[in-house]
């Protein structure tokens, strides 16, 4: 009775078991696969649980019950005759037939049940599991998991100081490296700039700044040094790493070097220090002319504005004024320091200051002159930069003598005497025009005519040099001038009067002859030839070269026109002509000038009084020893180039002497490189690596040689000795040549 049910139950249990195993199989396979991929137990466990839950829901191992079991058996077992459901019913309620059937079937299926299997896909799941496990194993073997890993991007810090071992033997231990580095730049107080921290080792700072370095290593090292321009500075070990500091004065290069505890040396690459100098302030004065002059009765005030700029701050600005009284030997100077009318806060980088100077308050009288300039200092410590502007002039015109102001950059009237005549005419004409309003008509005309006559006299004087005929005997002013001429005239004192007149020249201040005669030969023994004024022969009466003659002709033409307008009582129209005439005359004078350079020539010490007396006993000869040879520039670089060539061709080994040579060459190159760091820095680093690294490649040698050669400047041309072989034949030949000669 219960046997049937028992059979069913057994079958059902078997079914459930299979389904459960299937579930677990899937989960297991997935877990193994995940484990092989990730090598992480956690992930595998999670996968196992997850997949098992999922597959449980899909497969539902709890599903089979007796009812389904019996249905299944009915469908699949013929001998069950669809009567297995009978087992499920309580025995009492069954009819006899049913009981019979039940017993029969129970006996039937007892043995035959073994023939059927509960529906399951266990084997399939087993197969899949094994497949996954194999796949996982292969993935592990071939490391496919790494493709799925997100790369751990550690940011590469470009600024980190990296060290190269000085010998390239494989070090067994990992070399120490820097974990923390910083550069602190303390700018000078006066600049007002804040302290700057940075991790970049290239430094750009104002001179006078204090720079501190801080390096921290991951492990202990024995000592740390900084090398710069041939000097070695050790860094101090404090609690937090290695410190070092210095005050920047000049540009250069430096690098770090440290020795670790095993005695291995490491060195870093070169870093650059650029020192920016504190410039002096720039001072400018505006709103005023360089030279101003006042009449006595005017209000004598000058207003000007000064603009001062500095890069880091201005400290002070003031005016230095000098008053000069008198002239000649009795001139007196008085200097004063005057402040500006406006103020500015100390430390500003720009300042615009105004000042008004009243010459009366400076106790100046007519004829006095005032020179002033603005001076400014900046905040630089310890020694501030000073700058000054140009000098400006203010003068009160003297009432006694007519001193006309000269435009120009000079405060002293350097108008040479010989310009007076035409110049004087211009001045007088301008004065006349200025006074036109005040003069009566007749007086104006009279003065204009007088000027015209003066112009004519000047023109005639010039025309005489040209060999043109004189209109009438020219007397008057010339006599006075002739008397004065005797003083000026050196060589021609004994000459006759006509000559004296013509040799003194208001318009020309040269020697007796205006222009040297290019055709002068020794045959012309007659010095008078140049000066004898031959009116008969116009051809020979030329003292000038051709071009000068045309210039003078032009000048004369202008003078004609000037005289015309002056006589026509139109001085304003004659002015342009007068200016042009002056210009031509000036041209002629300038072309005949000889310029001699001022050379610092110190003659041997000769006693002046003895020299003039002609006694030479006290004049002693003397000897002078001097060593003027310039040292050969860049000696070590040149030697290095030659030595490198030897290495390249013959392949020798570097020894200590060579390393020293390269070190010196590196110092020389550093000096050149300061001007042009971009160009030579690479060579500098390579040169350094030659001294420190043991393994050197041919390419490196060639590159260094290349860079050194580029850095050398061109040599100056210098005389050298030639070589000659004198053998018997050559000597015979020379003897023969001599005989021929």
């Amino acid at each position: 009775m219960g046997m049937g049910k028992h059979i069913l139950t057994k079958f059902m249990n078997r079914w459930k078991l299979f389904l459960g195993l299937e579930t677990i199989c899937y989960a297991f396979g997935a877990a193994i696969f995940i484990y092989f991929l990730s090598l992480n137990l956690m992930y595998a466990l999670i996968a196992f649980l997850g997949i098992s839950i999922v597959s449980a829901f899909l497969i539902k191992p709890w599903q089979p019950n007796l009812h389904r079991t019996s249905q299944y058996i009915d469908h699949h077992l013929q001998s069950a005759e669809y009567s297995t459901s009978l087992f499920l019913k309580p025995y009492d309620r069954l009819s006899d037939l049913a009981k019979l059937q039940q017993n029969k079937i129970a006996n039937n299926i007892k043995d035959e049940l073994k023939r059927i299997q509960p529906p399951h896909n266990f084997y399939r799941s087993l197969f899949i599991t094994i497949g996954f496990m194999a796949l996982g194993f292969i993935a592990y073997f071939f490391n496919w998991s790494q493709y799925f890993e997100t790369p751990n991007m550690t940011p590469v810090n470009q600024d980190i100081v990296t060290f190269q071992p000085l010998d390239s033997l494989d070090s067994k231990s990992v070399s120490p490296y820097i974990v923390e580095q910083s550069v602190t730049i303390n700018y000078p107080n006066y600049t007002g700039l804040k302290t700057r921290h940075s991790s970049t080792m290239d430094i750009n700072a104002v001179e006078g700044s204090r720079v501190s370095w801080h390096l921290k290593f991951n492990s202990d090292v024995k000592e740390v040094m900084m090398e710069s321009m041939g000097n070695v500075y050790p860094l101090k070990l404090l609690k937090d790493g290695y410190f070092g500091s210095t005050v920047l004065q000049s540009s250069g290069f430096y690098n770090f070097k440290f020795n670790d505890t095993l005695g291995q040396s490491y060195s870093s690459i070169y870093y650059a220090i650029e020192v920016v100098k504190d410039d002096a302030p720039e001072v400018e004065i505006s709103e005023i002319d360089q030279f101003t002059s006042f009449d006595f009765d005017e209000t004598k005030t000058i207003n000007f504005r000064s603009e001062i700029t500095d890069d880091y701050g201005i400290d002070q600005a003031y005016i230095i004024a000098t008053v000069s009284k008198g002239s000649g030997e009795s001139v007196k100077f008085r200097e004063e320091k005057i402040d500006f009318d406006t103020t500015f806060p100390k430390g500003n980088t720009t300042a615009i200051l105004m000042k008004q100077i009243d010459l009366d308050h400076m106790q100046m009288e007519p004829g006095d002159e005032l020179y002033f300039y603005v001076e400014a200092t900046d905040l630089k410590q310890p020694k501030p930069n000073k700058a000054r502007s140009e000098t400006y002039f203010a003068a009160i015109k003297d009432t006694i003598s007519y001193v006309f102001g000269v435009e120009g950059t000079l405060g002293v009237d350097r108008m040479p005497d010989y310009f007076r005549s035409q110049r004087q005419l211009i001045i007088d004409t301008e004065k006349l025009l200025a006074e036109k309003a005040d003069l009566e008509d007749a007086e104006f005309k009279f003065k204009s005519n007088e000027l015209g006559y003066d112009q004519k006299a000047l023109r005639l004087k010039y025309a005489e040099f040209m060999g043109e005929e004189t209109e009438e005997g020219l007397v008057i002013e010339e006599d006075i001038e002739a008397l004065e001429a005797d003083d000026h005239d050196e060589e021609n004192l004994e000459e006759t009067d006509p000559l004296a007149e013509y040799t003194h020249d208001h318009d020309g201040d040269n020697e007796h002859n205006l222009v040297e005669d290019p055709n002068l030969t020794e045959d012309s023994k007659n010095p008078l030839q140049e000066f004898i004024h031959d009116h008969e022969d116009p051809e020979s009466a030329t003292l000038f070269e051709e071009s000068l003659k045309t210039k003078l002709l032009k000048a004369l033409n202008e003078m004609w026109d000037a005289e015309l307008y002056l006589r026509l009582y139109k001085p304003e129209q004659s002015l342009p002509y007068q200016y042009r005439a002056l210009k031509h005359i000036q041209d002629i004078k300038n072309s005949a000038r000889i310029y001699v350079h001022r050379i610092g020539f110190d003659p041997p010490p000769i006693k002046e009084d003895k020299r003039l007396t002609g006694k030479i006993e006290d004049v002693k000869g003397y000897r002078k020893n001097a060593d003027l040879a310039e040292k050969e520039s860049n000696l070590y670089i040149r030697q290095s180039i030659a030595r490198l060539e030897q290495f390249i061709i013959e392949g020798l080994e570097l020894n200590d002497k060579d390393k020293k040579l390269f070190e010196f060459a590196g110092n020389e190159l550093a000096v050149i490189a300061i001007e042009n760091p971009g160009r030579h820095l690479k060579t500098l680093q390579q040169l350094k690596s030659l001294t420190t690294v043991i393994e050197i490649s041919l390419e490196l040698l060639g590159d260094v040689q290349n860079g050194l050669h580029q850095a050398l400047p061109e040599n100056k041309p210098s005389p050298h000795q030639s070589e000659v072989l004198l053998d018997e034949l050559n000597q015979l030949l020379l003897k023969e040549l001599e005989n021929y000669d």
Partner: protein, 581 residues
């Protein structure tokens, strides 16, 4: 038997004859001791024949036989395949021999009578192998490269070197670059002409030592096509001892002495202050140098710079001493000329001037700056050597006088160039003048070689001038090298060596080890165009000039021994058979 008979084994003649005679005697004795008398004479004759043939077999007589004419083709580098094929079609079975440097072309027995040479040709040092043959050189060669090169291997630091040459068939757009130490580019020229392009490259030497420069050909992309070595041997300059004598201080002297002193030369300057009083300046030299004019004192100087007035005032002993110093010791004298000197030069100076109009001069290839001069120029003379000249007008020149030189110049006030900032021109003028006129350094030995570059395993010839009576030469491996003396000139020697090692090598004279001759050995892959061109030239010149000779070559051929053998066999057969019959 056309010509005479020779015996190849002639040295065995007498032993063979003796043995033959002995044999004959033996036979005759044997024959007479036998009883049969019939045909005795015949038997003796036949025996004689047998013995004769036997001895002749041993002696190996030979005759001179004409060698049949045979032709061969010698294949050298860069053979033109077309020419080869056309030759082969004319001579179907012609033999080809490939030529390798320094290896024999053919053995003695194997010599063809005429050869055709294809390709670049046989190197000049192997040409002896085809002597006596009829040769036809058929190579033409399509060369693209540098075929001629001219430069001076030895130079002095600070000087410029000029490298000039000819490039044949330049590929358009390529550059020739002169590379210095480390491969730095010093000068370059663009190859843009059609057939032959002449080029000139120059550089200044900045360091002392032996350097390997290179002449590289680069295409427009910068890739290097060929790179050939240019060895240079740079020496340091020597410093001169210069004496300057002035009547009165001059600006010209002042700036000149400063310039020379700064370069390190040793100067002694004497200028006159007043009558009998002088100012002496010793620049870079000690006061022990005196300025008195005696030949012994002047020996210590290389150059004397003196103004014309002082020179005119030299009298008697002083003048003779100066002349002796110039003629015998090689002193150089530069005369700072004044106006009087130009109009009436000092007679023993040998100069003559003519006047001209220009006041300034600009030299070609110099910076365009006018250099002031007096209105004179030199009158040309057979013995006058110009130092500065433009077209045919000479502005600075010197004249040889014995061993020394006397020079002068019409350039005046050159110090103004310095003051105007044209330092380079000033330095150039005075470098030229001082270098040319100053005393030359006497050498005991002078080396010269045709090429400055030697090739490994190829002969390299050097000529040596020396005053040493029997020089001994050692190479850098300390091996002694044989010197071949010249018959006519006792001081001239020749050395030929085959360099075995690459790189810088040197020769040193045992008797005078101060001066070594440095040369650079490279392998045959360099300067290929030039070597090919030279080889072709040599082959063309020598090989096609040979007259077609009628001399046939003969060789000895031994008479075939079978004849003797058959005679011997017959005679012996008869002798043996005769009693039986």
């Amino acid at each position: 038997m056309i010509n005479e008979l020779t015996y190849l084994n002639a040295k065995w003649f007498w032993p063979i004859v003796i043995i033959a005679l002995l044999l004959m005697v033996l036979f005759i004795w044997k024959d007479y001791s036998s009883t049969r008398k019939k045909n005795r004479v015949l038997k003796i004759i036949v025996a004689f024949l047998a013995v004769l043939s036997l001895s002749l077999m041993a002696l190996k007589p030979a005759t001179q036989v004409k060698i049949p004419a045979s032709t061969a083709i010698i294949l050298t580098d860069n053979v033109d395949a077309e020419k080869l094929d056309s030759l082969r079609s004319v001579y179907p079975n012609i033999k080809t021999i490939t030529y390798d440097r320094n290896t024999p072309l053919f053995s003695q027995d194997d010599r063809p009578t005429s050869v055709y040479i294809l390709g670049d040709g046989i190197s000049s040092f192997d040409l002896w192998q085809v002597e006596g043959l009829v040769t036809n050189y058929l190579g033409e060669g399509d060369i693209s490269g540098i075929i001629a090169l001219n430069y001076s291997q030895k130079n002095i630091k600070g000087n410029h070197s000029e490298i000039s040459g000819v490039y044949h068939n330049p590929p358009s757009g390529n550059y020739l670059v002169l590379e210095g130490p480390g491969g730095i580019g010093l000068d370059s020229v663009l190859l843009d002409q059609k057939d032959d392009q002449e080029f000139k490259l120059s550089t200044q030497h900045k360091a002392v030592g032996k350097f390997l420069y290179a002449l590289a050909e680069k295409d427009s992309l910068g890739n290097i096509r060929t790179k050939d070595p240019l060895p240079f041997d740079i020496k340091d300059r020597d410093l001169l001892h210069i004496l300057m004598i002035n009547r009165f201080p001059m600006f010209e002297t002042k700036y000149l002495k400063n310039y020379l002193a700064e370069l390190g030369h040793h100067l002694v300057v004497r200028s006159q202050l007043t009558k009998g009083k002088y100012k002496y300046e010793y620049l870079n030299s000690n006061s022990s140098y005196t300025t008195r004019f005696s030949q012994k004192n002047l020996e210590g100087y290389d150059l004397l710079i003196i103004d014309a007035a002082s020179l005119r005032s030299l009298m008697g002993d002083q003048l003779n001493a100066l002349k002796a110093a110039i003629n015998q010791d090689g002193l150089g004298v530069y005369i700072q000329a004044d106006d009087r000197f130009f109009r009436s030069p000092i007679s023993w100076s040998g100069f003559a001037f003519k006047s001209e109009t220009s006041k300034a001069i600009r030299f070609t290839n110099w910076p365009r700056i006018p250099i002031l001069k007096q209105r004179f120029q030199f009158k040309d003379n057979l013995l006058l050597e110009p130092m500065h000249q433009k077209d045919s007008t000479i502005y600075s020149a010197y004249r040889l006088s014995g061993k020394g030189k006397i020079g002068s110049s019409v350039l005046s006030n050159t110090y103004q160039l310095l003051l105007n900032g044209h330092t380079e021109v000033y330095q150039r003028i005075w470098t030229d003048i001082v270098s040319e006129i100053s005393k030359s350094k006497e050498q005991f030995t002078k080396w010269s070689s045709e090429n400055s570059i030697a090739y490994k395993d190829e002969p390299f010839t050097i000529t040596l001038h020396t005053n040493i009576k029997t020089p001994t030469l050692r190479s850098s491996q300390n091996l002694q090298l044989p010197l071949k003396g010249n018959i006519d000139l006792p001081r001239l020697w020749n050395v030929k060596t085959y360099p075995k090692y690459l790189g810088w090598q040197s020769f040193v004279l045992e008797q005078d080890s101060s001066e070594a001759f440095n040369y650079f050995v490279t392998d045959s892959t360099k300067w290929q165009a030039m070597r090919r061109y030279n080889t072709i030239l040599v082959n063309k010149r020598t090989l096609n000039d040979q007259i077609r000779s009628n001399d046939q070559n003969f060789k000895l051929q031994p008479i075939n021994r079978i004849w003797f053998y058959s005679v011997f066999l017959l005679s012996v057969a008869y002798l043996w058979l005769e009693p039986k019959l």
